[in-house]
Amino acid sequence: MTTKPVNMDINVHHVTRVEGHGNIVVDIKDGQLEKCYFNVVEAPRFFESFLRGRNYTESALITSRICGICSPGHQLTSLKATEKAMGIQPSEQTIILRKILADAATLQSHILHVYFLAAPDLLSVPSVIPLVATHPDVVKRALRLKKLANDICDVVGGRSVHPNRMIPGGVTMVPTVSELKELQKRLKDAVPDILATVETVKSLAGNLPDFTRETEYISLKSKKEYAIYDGDIFSSDTGATKVDNYKKMTNEKIVEHSSAKHTSANRSSFMVGALARCNNSNDMFNETAQKAAKELGFKAPCFNPFFNNVAQVIEAGLVVQRMIEDIDKLIQMGPKEEPRPKIKVKAGQGVGCTEVPRGILYHDYTYDENGTVIGANCIIPTNQNFSNIDDDMRKMVPELVDAGKSRDEITFALEVLVRAYDPCISCSVHFLKVRFK
C-alpha cells in the first residue's frame, strides 16, 4: 500500500500500433482516480447516413469501406443482413466459400496483430522493424502466414482488402480445383509455422501482465462448429439468444469522452473478440486449437484480457485446420460457376451477424420495395469493447499504483492493454446509428 497520496496525470496522444486514433487519459489526484478512460478521437464519417438512398446491391460494397482491416467480415455481415431482409438463400457452395473467406481474414488479422502489433511490446522494441534484424526467421514466418491468408482471400474473394466476388445471394466467380488444391497444399505446409507461432507466443507468454477481471463474454455460438460465420448470440452470463435480439445485447449509448458509442448488456461492460469466443466456444475447438490451447496454458474461462493474444493464436490454428477441411468439401462437391442469383426485390428488414477478428459484428438494414436502403444500424466489435477497456483500466491503475509502479510503467501497461484488444478505431466511429423515416 502507498502511504503518500499519489498524484499522476497520464495522457497518451494517439496510441500507436492500433488501427485508428485514440488517447489514454488518467488523472489521479490525492490518490483518487478522477479520470481513467480510453478516449476515441477518430473523425466521424457518418457512414450509415450515406447508405440511405443506395441500392441493396451496393450495401456490402459501401460498408466494406468502413474498415479495410476487417472488410471481408463487413461484407459478409452486410450480405447476410440483405439476404435476410429479402428472403434470399445462398447455395451451399457459396456458404462454404464465405466461411473460407471469413477464416482466412481471421488468420490474416490475427497474424498481423500478434506478430506486428502486440509482439513488439513483449520484446521491448518499438515496432516489428528492429525484429527484421534480430529475429529474421520469426518475421519471415509471420510474413509467410500473412501472405498465405491474403492469397486465400484473393482466390476466394477476388481481393483481400475489399473483396469483389461476394454479392447478395452468391459469388461472381468460383475458384478452380487447381487453385483450391494449391491453397490446400500451402495450408498443410503452414501447419509447422502455426506450431512455431504457438512456441514463440508460449515463450513470450510469461511477459504478459498478470491481471484478471471477470467480465461478461459475448460471441456467436453454434452447435455445429466453432462459430465465425454463423450462430446464435451467446453470453457467458445469460446463455444463447437469437441474432434478431442484438439490441438487448448491446444497448448503445453516447459517452462524453468518445466519438464512438459504448455498449453494455448484463453488467457495466462486456468483452468480445478472440478471448470471448475461446471462452464461449472452447467445446468446439478442433484438434489443432486444442493442441495450441494446451501448449499455451489456456483454460476457459480465462479472465485475463491480455490473453486475447493467446486466444488469437489458438484461433489461427483452428482456422488453418478448418480451411483444409472446407477445401476438401469444395473439391468433393466439384466447384461450379453459379448463375447470377435471381433476386425478387422486396421491402423488408434484416439483421446479419458474424464474428470478425475483433468480435461480434451486427448489420441491420431496412429496405423499401425498390430495394433502396431506408435505415441502417451497425454495431462494431471495437465499440462493444470500449466500456470493458475502461473498466479494466479502472481496476488496473489502482493495482499498479499500489504496487508502486512509476508513471512510465503505468503508461506502458495501459498502452499494452489497449493494444491487447486489437481495437479498430476507424471502424468504431464509422458507424453512427442513423434511422431515417
Binding site: R45, F46, R159, S160, S259
Partner: protein, 246 residues
C-alpha cells in the same frame, strides 16, 4: 548511400491502404531496407519529424487534420497521396452530399458541437500533392512501382487511359453484356481491371481518367435504363470530387 527518411500518416479512411502496404509481404523487407521509416503510427511507436518523403492516407475531414497536413507539407520534400480517400476523397465524399448539420444533430443530439467536422476534401484541396497512388484500396503493384520510382528519383507514371483498355487487353467479357452498369470506360487504369476480371463491374474507385468522355458514358448508362438520378448516384460513389457528380 543514406536511406531516404519516410513517414506514413493516416487521416480519415478505413486503413485498408495501410494494410495494403503491410500486405506487400514479398517486398516488405526490401522496402524496410531501402528506406528509413521514422513515423508510421499504425506499425511503430517511433515518431520522428525528420522525414523527406511523406505518404498520406485518408481524406481531410476536420480542422485538426487540415493543420496537420499543412505541417507535413512544410517538412516533406515529396508528398504522396495514397489511395482513393487521399487522392480523390474517395467514398468519404458522400458525406458532402448530405445535410451535415441535420445528420450530426440526429446522431449526437445536443452534443453535436463536440464533434468537429468539415466537408471532406482530398489532400490536394488543402496542400500540393506530388504523386498519387489511386484506388480503393490502392493496388499493391501500383504502390511498389511508386515507391521504386521515388527511390530512383523518377516521377511515377500514371496511366492516361481507362480501365476499359486494361479490361479489353485481358479479354474479359464486357459487364454491359450482362446488363450491368460499369464505369470502366471513364475510370483511370492502373489496377489491371481488377474488378471486371473478377466478374464484378467497375465502380470507379480510381477516379476519373484525364478528359473522361463522361457524357458518352452517361448516354451508355441511360441506354441501360438508368435514370439521370441513378447515374449521378453511381458517379458520386468515387467521383464525388468531380463536377460530373453534381
Amino acid at each position: 548511400m543514406t536511406k531516404p527518411k519516410v513517414a506514413f500518416f493516416d487521416f480519415t479512411g478505413c486503413e485498408g491502404c495501410q494494410l495494403q502496404k503491410i500486405n506487400c509481404e514479398d517486398e516488405l523487407i526490401d522496402i524496410l531496407n531501402a528506406y528509413e521509416i521514422v513515423n508510421f503510427r499504425e506499425a511503430s511507436s517511433v515518431r520522428r519529424d525528420d522525414y523527406e518523403i511523406a505518404f498520406a492516407e485518408g481524406s481531410i475531414s476536420n480542422s485538426a487534420q487540415e493543420e496537420m497536413i499543412k505541417k507535413i507539407r512544410e517538412k516533406a520534400k515529396i508528398l504522396v497521396a495514397l489511395g482513393a480517400c487521399a487522392s480523390t476523397g474517395g467514398l468519404n465524399i458522400l458525406k458532402n452530399f448530405q445535410d451535415i448539420e441535420e445528420v450530426r444533430h440526429y446522431v449526437y443530439g445536443d452534443k453535436a458541437h463536440y464533434f468537429d467536422t468539415i466537408p471532406v476534401k482530398p489532400v490536394d484541396k488543402v496542400v500540393k500533392v506530388d504523386y498519387y497512388v489511386h484506388g480503393c484500396p490502392m493496388d499493391k503493384g501500383d504502390f511498389i512501382r511508386t515507391v521504386k520510382s521515388i527511390l530512383l528519383g523518377k516521377k511515377p507514371a500514371l496511366p492516361k487511359y481507362s480501365v476499359c483498355v486494361e479490361c479489353k487487353m485481358k479479354e474479359n467479357e464486357c459487364r454491359f453484356d450482362y446488363g450491368e452498369v460499369c464505369l470502366g470506360p471513364i475510370t483511370r487504369a492502373g489496377c489491371g481491371a481488377r474488378c471486371p476480371s473478377n466478374a464484378f463491374y467497375c465502380f470507379g474507385c480510381r477516379g476519373l481518367v484525364d478528359n473522361p468522355a463522361a457524357n458518352a458514358e452517361k448516354e451508355v448508362l441511360a441506354k441501360n435504363n438508368l435514370t439521370p438520378e441513378e447515374i449521378v448516384l453511381k458517379f458520386r460513389l468515387f467521383y464525388g470530387y468531380s463536377e460530373v457528380s453534381k
